[in-house]
Amino acid sequence: MWNRLTLTELAQRLAQRETSASEALAACWDRIQQVDPVLHAYLSCDIAEARLQAEAADRALASGATHREQPLLGVPISLKDIIAVREQPLTCGSKLLANFVSPYDAAVTEKLRAAGAVLFGRLNLDEFAMGSSTENSGFGPARNPWDPSRIPGGSSGGSAVAVAADECAAALGSDTGGSVRQPAACCGVVGLKPTYGRVSRYGLVAYASSLDQIGTLTKDVRDAATLLGAIGGHDPRDSTSVPQPVPDYTATLEQGVRGLKLGLPKEYFVGGLDPEVRAAVEAAVAQFQQLGAETIEISLPHTDYAIAAYYIIAPAEASANLARFDGVRYGSRVAGADLLELYQRTRGAGFGPEVKRRIILGTYVLSSGYYDAYYLRAQKVRTLIRQDFLEAFGTVDAILTPTTPSAAFPLGEKSDDPLRMYLEDIYTVSCNLAGICGLSLPCGFTRQPRLPIGLQLLGKPFGEATLLRLAYAYEQATSWHREKPPLPHAPERA
């Protein structure tokens, strides 16, 4: 049962010695045995090593260590398999890195260790974080705990599933165009994408460097505040991380929302939005009004160009970021008669179709003669999109939108149609292009089948405290986050 608690609740029980880190980890491990054969949230789990960490946490607790100094002491947390953990696999969901073990810790890994977390398990994802359904995983998709015939969202699908299905207390994912918020919405958990530069990217395998940001997937808003506090902050090893002090995000959670202004971008409430999702979001708007927030309609005029700009910039950066995976120094090599053939065979066999598609797309848009028309223009659009947001934040404290146009869709439904799949990110990509922060939290369920719906809040650069405060007030007034998926499911017949 310890696995069902939120991070905050578990930390309290650990602090009161009602349970131990080892017990909490064992509960998670039992749960994984029980549900993960179907859900496939985890790609691997070095439970023996995790037990050593838990025992060390228990020894620390026994010798008087406190959660004031180490807020995550003894709490089992899992990471998306694209964040480096020393001596653990780092597959990035790619066959090419199936046997790669990281020799070093990511910055967030170090921070979590310092905060006392027990790090265990490698979470499933779309290969190199490219995708919105986790179907692009090189090792088989993860499945939605609310309905295993449906996708859990992506690319941090494994992270959302593991949290939703109580396989861990909390998880980290990465969000390049919605990869934390969209799966959070699909699985009914809280997903927070911090401002670009808030969390060090050192040790996060890059998909699109100017858009990537590590984010949290948690069972509630307070957990998100605690976890962000633990992983945020400047890191000299990441030149794009920003030397801004990290506030105590939990301290301002309960300040309420009275007087705060919420913007509703008219461009986000148009065709393509599922009526049930629209209704849930509108109900949330009413809820915020009731809590004392003011809501006004705003305009983000360049919204329509966001997907196009994103699918130029992200693949362009990815085409260079993924060049290093050539089988020469590490990774699964497929030999060839000469160097070129070695490259071709290694990458041909190692990368899945979506990764290849984006590498080719990115290579194309950066090519001589096309650079100005695509890459440069996309960068200009990006600047306009950021300006849209900064202008809006001149009058509102945060922006409220749906996280996804519809609830989780069935596996395979969009896998043959990349463009339809790309539209899954329509409400989330702008946040990354603008470099601002965003959060998704549960705001209701569809009727038939019963699937979670996500509400997205977008905030000013380094405005995470306000987002968390808004989300917390809403969460306190509703009970969506307390709903648990109907698990366990029987393994699905093929």
Binding site: I82, I83, A84, L90, C92, L97, F100, S102, P103, Y104, A106, R201, Y202, G203, L204, V205, A206, A208, S209, S210, P236, R237, D238, S239, T240, A316, E317, S319, A320, A323, R324, F325, D326, V328, R329, Y330, L339, Y343, T363, L366, S367, S368, Y371, Y375
Partner: protein, 480 residues
């Protein structure tokens, strides 16, 4: 038809920094393969570069030394191509916004001061080094990520010899500025050369041929000599040249074609999103400016002008800057700087070489040389004895005055004493006296030598000469 070459050089120089460009690994030559490496310079998944401030400073310093414009904003770009010696399969370099633009190198060439304009100076990362064995290949990544400067010249060079002179001048400047050790043996300087020929006097440009892989200045000169005559031969035979890249084969002494323009790479440059643009602040620039030193050519000219030194002496102080600095400390107060230069260049340098000492090991005060020069000038010490004094001063660190006093080496200029020595010598050698008087004036030197012997070398030779001559002209005392 007469043809003239048009030459431009791209010179790659490893910067003298403690650590590599993006990580803390040592920037050091000669370690066993793959011992100065870390996740960052190996390009492991998830790592990020952090720009080495010392390398950025040396780059801007180079720009200042070479009179470049320092743009308010520079950035790093990714240059994409696959090669096993490049861990990321892209190289970080400054593509369209380099750290320094324009500028020039001035140097002496065939008796004139030549000026070669620079296009730009940019900073990039070096790559690893491939080794090929019987059945496999290996890469040493110790060099990967070492900061590398690329200095691009305008096509202002007109001969292989001039290119050679330019490179040597550039090297001297970089060593002077502490930018690079420019150790060719360690591969710290490498060149790519662009060369074309055109009918003499015409203004158009011929097909540009790039020569790659030149790792010595003499190699550049040889390759250019060979390539220029090859191009002229092709044209004279009525052939045509196409834009292409050729490799210099040092062993065979020929250039061979690698690729033509048709299969040129598309490097797909784009700004590196992992690094912030560089916008040097005034304070930062001011700090860098403090490192600006006098350039070798300017120094030579100044030494010739201020101290009235001949070119060769001035060049000695350019070639050995610390010796030159030492000289200047003494010469500033000297009436006869040339005499000081002689002591420093001849005597001091020789003794330093013999003893294996450096200037910082010297036991005597620099003003000792000034004293020595004064003693000789005032006729208080013969040059021969001065050298002995110098030797002792070098050994013991004592002042020349003290040595002279202790060894009673002071030149005897007291006329009464000298007269006595002269009388003694004349009396002892009637033969030479007679020789002199009968017109064999060479006998005077013998008699002078006798006086010097009697005085133990201390007699003032000029006075001795005068006295002897006077006495020899006098009627012989004995015959009166």
């Amino acid at each position: 038809m007469d043809y003239e070459p048009v030459i431009g050089l791209e010179t790659h120089v490893q910067l003298r920094t403690q650590s590599k460009m993006w990580c803390g690994c040592a920037n050091a030559f000669g370690a066993p393969p793959n011992t100065h490496v870390c996740p960052v310079c190996l390009g492991l998944p998830g790592v990020l570069p952090v720009a080495n401030d010392a390398a950025l400073r040396l780059t801007v310093l180079t720009g200042l030394l070479l009179r470049c414009e320092i743009p308010p904003r520079a950035k790093f770009d990714r240059k994409n191509y696959f090669y096993p010696d490049m861990p990321k399969n892209y190289q970080l370099t400054q593509y369209d916004q380099p750290s320094a633009m324009g500028g020039y190198v001035e140097f002496e060439f065939q008796g004139r001061i030549e000026r070669v304009r620079l296009t730009r100076i940019h900073l990039e990362e070096d790559v690893g080094k491939s080794f090929h064995f019987d059945r496999h290949s290996g890469v040493d990544f110790n060099r990967a990520g070492v900061p590398l400067l690329e200095i691009v010249s305008e096509p202002d060079l007109t001969s292989a010899e001039m290119a050679y002179a330019y490179l040597n001048a550039l090297k001297d400047i970089l060593i002077y500025g502490g930018v690079s050790d420019c150790d060719m043996e360690k591969g710290m300087v490498r060149c790519d050369v662009n060369v074309s020929v055109r009918p003499a006097g015409s203004r158009g440009l011929g097909a540009k041929i790039e020569l790659k892989n030149l790792n010595s200045f003499s190699g550049v000169r040889q390759a250019l000599e060979h390539e220029i005559s090859r191009q002229i031969k092709v044209l004279n035979r009525g052939g045509a040249l196409v834009q292409s890249t050729r490799r210099w084969d040092e062993v065979l002494g020929v250039t061979e074609e690698m690729r033509t323009k048709e299969d040129a790479h598309d490097y797909r440059y784009f700004p590196d999103p992992d690094l912030m643009p560089l916008e040097p602040t005034e304070a930062w620039l001011a700090e860098v400016r403090e490192g600006v030193v006098e350039l070798p050519l300017a120094r030579k000219q100044r030494f010739m002008h201020d101290y009235q030194l001949p070119a060769a002496d001035a060049q000695s102080f350019v070639d050995d800057p610390t010796l030159g600095d030492y000289f200047e400390r003494i010469a500033r107060g000297a009436a006869n700087a040339k005499a000081v230069a002689n002591w420093v260049i001849n005597d001091l340098r020789a003794r330093l070489a013999d003893s294996g000492w450096g200037l910082h090991d010297l036991k005597f005060e620099p003003r000792g040389i000034l004293e020595l020069v004064g003693l000789v000038e005032r006729g208080q010490l013969s040059h021969k004895l001065a050298q002995e004094v110098f030797a002792q001063m070098f050994r013991t660190g004592r002042s020349p005055a003290a040595i002279v006093k202790e060894r009673r080496l002071a030149q005897v200029s007291d006329t009464a004493a000298l007269e006595a020595f002269c009388d003694q010598a004349l009396a002892a050698h009637p033969g030479p006296v007679n020789d002199y008087r009968s017109g064999k004036t060479a006998a005077l030197n013998f008699l002078k030598g006798q006086v010097m012997k009697l005085s133990q070398g201390k007699a003032n030779p000029a006075l001795v000469g005068e006295i002897l001559e006077r006495k020899l002209r006098e009627p012989t005392p004995s015959s009166s």
